[in-house]
């Protein structure tokens, strides 16, 4: 479904990605794990068209989208929940959600979608008229997730969706990710919470300083000793 080939990305003179390549198949959950600054967010930003690579290609369903503007990529069915939520603080919760559906014109469908989002995140419904900027951190994360679902993407890029969420919410979010996936959305998941991510993902890639150093089915990656010490850390010997 999505294929990334030899991607090289620079910020000024700093190289963030070194010729990385990977693939996502229809219906999968793929996770990308790696330490801080490994280039995970950069990868997602490049796929979404926010960052232009110096070389390499991003191919989505057979179309080369490397040079397609970001707003068109959304229309093609790729949505992203960016790192740090990036909700529109000056809009209300409802307006944020409607912006998520900006590319869609069928009012009826948008209404239905809205109901579904409220079912997943009842807290949002309570605060529908509140300015999004005054939501608590967790509420904002829910809003960001809900907002991205409003465009009915076929590929959803999630950048650290569990960041700053309470344990119960983390579970819930992962539940939701699974559900979304079950309903047919392909997911590329970037997570620090590697343990959880590897639990729900089908396949995983490990990114280290801008290079892919390991890939394979999630289970295998989880059992890789190097991953256990480097990313699962203490967790590995506590459990």
């Amino acid at each position: 479904m999505l294929e990334v080939k030899d991607l090289e990305v620079f910020y000024g003179s700093i190289q963030a990605l070194h010729r990385i390549s990977f693939k996502i198949n229809e219906g999968e959950i793929v996770t990308l794990i790696g330490a801080n600054g490994a280039g995970k967010s950069t990868t997602l930003r490049t796929i979404s068209g926010l960052v232009r690579p110096r070389s390499g290609k991003v191919v989505f369903r057979g179309t080369d989208i490397t040079q397609v503007p970001a707003h068109t990529i959304v229309r093609m069915g790729i949505a992203q929940v960016p790192e740090g939520r990036r909700i529109f603080s000056n809009l209300t919760v409802l307006e944020n959600l409607l912006m998520g559906a900006y590319t869609r014109n069928n009012k009826q469908e948008v209404e239905e979608n809205l109901e579904r989002v409220f079912k997943s995140f009842p807290r949002l419904k309570e605060r529908i008229k509140q300015l999004a900027g005054t939501l608590s951190g967790g509420e904002q994360q829910m809003l960001a997730m809900g907002r991205s679902l409003m465009s009915r993407p076929s590929l959803l890029l999630l950048d650290e969706p569990s960041m700053g969420l309470s344990p119960i919410m983390v579970e819930e979010i992962f539940e939701i990710i699974k559900n979304i996936n079950h309903e047919g959305t392909t997911v590329l998941l970037v997570e620090q919470n590697a343990f959880m991510a590897l639990q729900i993902a089908h396949r995983a890639y490990v990114l280290e300083t801008g290079r892919i150093v390991l890939e394979g089915p999630a289970k295998e990656v989880r059992d890789n000793p190097r991953v256990r010490t480097a990313y699962l850390g203490e967790l590995a010997f506590v459990s």
């Binding site: 700093i14 794990i33 330490a35 801080n36 600054g37 740090g84 807290r123 005054t134 939501l135 608590s136 951190g137 967790g138 509420e139 994360q141 829910m142 650290e160 960041m163 700053g164 969420l165 309470s166 344990p167 119960i168 919410m169 983390v170 579970e171 819930e172 620090q192 919470n193 590697a194 343990f195 010490t229 480097a230 990313y231 699962l232 850390g233 203490e234 967790l235 590995a236 506590v238 459990s239």
Partner: protein
């Protein structure tokens, strides 16, 4: 006398009561965890203690002195430092200067010393510099001292925030989700760091965190909030087996069991 005593603290935002009858006593040298669901009012408690927003009612007594009504910088000078949930570094300043900017608070030289670079100034500045380097070493950022703060990766930015807070020589350190965005291994090293600085600088720490690994490992006592109120309080063990907490916050899942 407790180091910090918060009594009957309340905060309303419009119709919303974000903090309600919050009580907290902290003794010198404690590490206390403050947990609770998203939107429970934890960050608001920090904002109230540091004077960023005025409480609706209640008192905050630090070393026997009521802080309510003091401007933030005065509260800070009394020995309360914090980090922010959404990192707020001085982004275009160098890593070193992020720390040095705060260090001066304790190294007063006059305007004319600064204007003329008097010998006294030079001496103090060397002290500041040495101290800043020392703090950066503590958080393992000494090699990046000349980079702008904005160029650091996320986790490093969090550690820089801690170094900056330490520059204030605080007695009480408030950490708002220091482990957010870190992977378990990084969390582990952060745990070590917090433990280390607590001993080295004789700190009392109040910590908000959702990563239970960190909280359960570090804290002697945990306060749980929901809807602005305290719903439970006790040792990690007590809290993690409290049904109310499980229901509202931890969930029945594997997370707790692992800790």
């Amino acid at each position: 006398m407790p180091l910090l005593e918060v009594r009957d603290l309340c905060k309303d935002f419009g119709g919303l009561r974000a903090v309600s009858n919050f009580q907290l006593k902290m003794e010198q040298g404690e590490i206390v965890g403050l947990i609770g669901p998203n939107g429970a009012g934890k960050t608001t408690v920090f904002n109230l203690i540091t004077g960023l927003i005025p409480p609706t009612s209640g008192s905050i007594i630090f070393q026997g002195e009521n802080l309510v009504g003091l401007p933030p910088y005065r509260i800070a000078a009394k020995g309360i430092a914090r980090t922010f949930q959404n990192i707020r570094l001085f982004k275009d300043m160098s890593v070193l200067d992020n720390v040095r900017a705060i260090l001066h608070v304790h190294n007063g030289y006059g305007f004319w010393d600064a204007a003329l670079h008097s010998p006294r100034f030079a001496k103090k500045e060397e002290e500041i510099l040495a101290r800043a380097r020392e703090l950066l070493e503590v958080v393992n950022l000494e090699t990046r001292s000349r980079d702008p703060a904005r160029s650091l990766p996320y986790g490093d930015q969090r550690r820089l925030e801690i170094a900056r807070a330490l520059a204030l020589r605080p007695k009480l350190l408030l950490l708002d989700e220091p482990a957010a965005g870190m992977n378990p291994r990084e969390v582990a090293s952060l745990t070590e760091l917090i433990r280390f600085i607590k001993d080295k600088f004789q700190l009392t720490v109040l910590l908000i965190e959702h990563q239970m690994g960190l909280v359960m490992n570090l804290c002697e006592r945990i306060v749980v909030m929901d809807f602005g109120e305290i719903i439970a309080e006790g040792t990690p063990h007590e809290v993690s087996n409290n049904p109310v907490v499980l229901e509202a916050y931890l969930g029945k899942g594997a997370v707790v069991n692992r800790c």
